[in-house]
């Protein structure tokens, strides 16, 4: 059973036209879908020091300003970043040789000196009593001098912009914290909540 020659040639024409058009249409539809989609980001914040408090809140608040949906999951030491009072976050020179040790005051030549280069090895520095407090104080002053936002400020800007904060309930219990220790507006959940959010996110970061 063969088609008549006319029908066969019409079919061939239609097929050829479809093959030309389909990729264009598909690309157009995909592009439209891509453009109308709200980008999203899921971050896991695991560190509880002053230096590591910055990346999740900087990226979270900025992504929210760009119109993205953002969720930050705080687990283990990252829970410290959700405490009502974060003024006691510290930075440790121990095992942190990449941290420049510069003075945030005095004349420019003095401020330019990296004391790590010739003062003493990292291991000895960080074993000195009070050295962590000194390093923290120096960093807080440097942050202030450079017009860098405080953690409190970035955190409240993030919350205002709709960034979702989720605390890991398991570590809350593990470390003996209570929900009263943390900001209001924080959700408490576990890994099963994070994974589906991360699955749909365009950007997932572990910090």
């Amino acid at each position: 059973m063969g088609a008549t020659p006319e029908i066969a040639s019409i079919e061939e024409l239609v097929n050829r036209r479809l093959e030309e058009l389909l990729p264009q249409k598909l690309e157009e539809a995909l592009r439209q879908r891509e453009e109308s989609k709200t980008p999203s980001m899921a971050i896991i914040a695991t560190k509880g020091t002053l230096d590591w408090a910055y990346p999740p809140f900087i990226l979270g608040s900025t992504a929210a300003a760009l119109g993205w949906d953002v969720s930050i999951f705080f687990t283990f030491y990252g829970l410290n970043l959700l405490k009502k009072d974060v003024s006691d976050l510290k930075v440790s020179p121990l095992g942190n040789p990449g941290m420049p040790m510069k003075m945030p005051f005095g004349p420019e030549w003095f401020k330019g000196i990296d004391w790590n280069k010739f003062l003493m090895p990292n291991l000895i520095q960080s074993n000195l009593p009070g050295f962590e407090s000194i390093a923290t104080m120096l960093m807080q002053q440097t942050i202030k001098n450079n017009g860098v936002a405080t953690i409190e400020e970035l955190r409240s800007l993030s919350q205002e912009a709709g960034v979702k904060f989720i605390a890991c309930q398991m570590t809350v219990e593990l470390f003996g914290f209570s929900h009263d220790d943390f900001l209001s507006g924080v959700d408490y959940a576990g890994a099963a909540t994070f994974l589906p959010v991360a699955q749909k996110a365009d950007v997932t970061l572990f910090m």
Binding site: I58, T62, A65, G147, A149
Partner: protein, 75 residues
């Protein structure tokens, strides 16, 4: 260039100029123009990316005396 609102972001560092600009834009009507002055050299690329991503048009971007000036039209 005419503008409807001004944001002084001098002395502020990443990401504050963008976050403040976003807030200021939200207080404007669509089509109105925000002028931003900043001193953060990173803000030049950041404002271009912010405009591209949010659809608020960056009408002009200029540098003079280590200060950066941006005119942004609210979408």
């Amino acid at each position: 260039m005419n503008f409807d609102k001004e944001l002084d972001a001098r002395g502020l560092n990443c990401p504050l100029p963008i976050l403040r600009a976003k807030k200021s834009l939200a207080e404007l009507q669509p089509g109105q123009v925000l002028r931003v002055i900043s001193t953060d050299p990173g803000s030049v690329k950041d404002f271009a990316a912010f405009a591209k991503q949010t659809g608020n048009e960056l009408l002009a971007s200029a540098e003079k005396d280590k200060e950066f000036e941006f005119f942004m039209k609210r979408k």
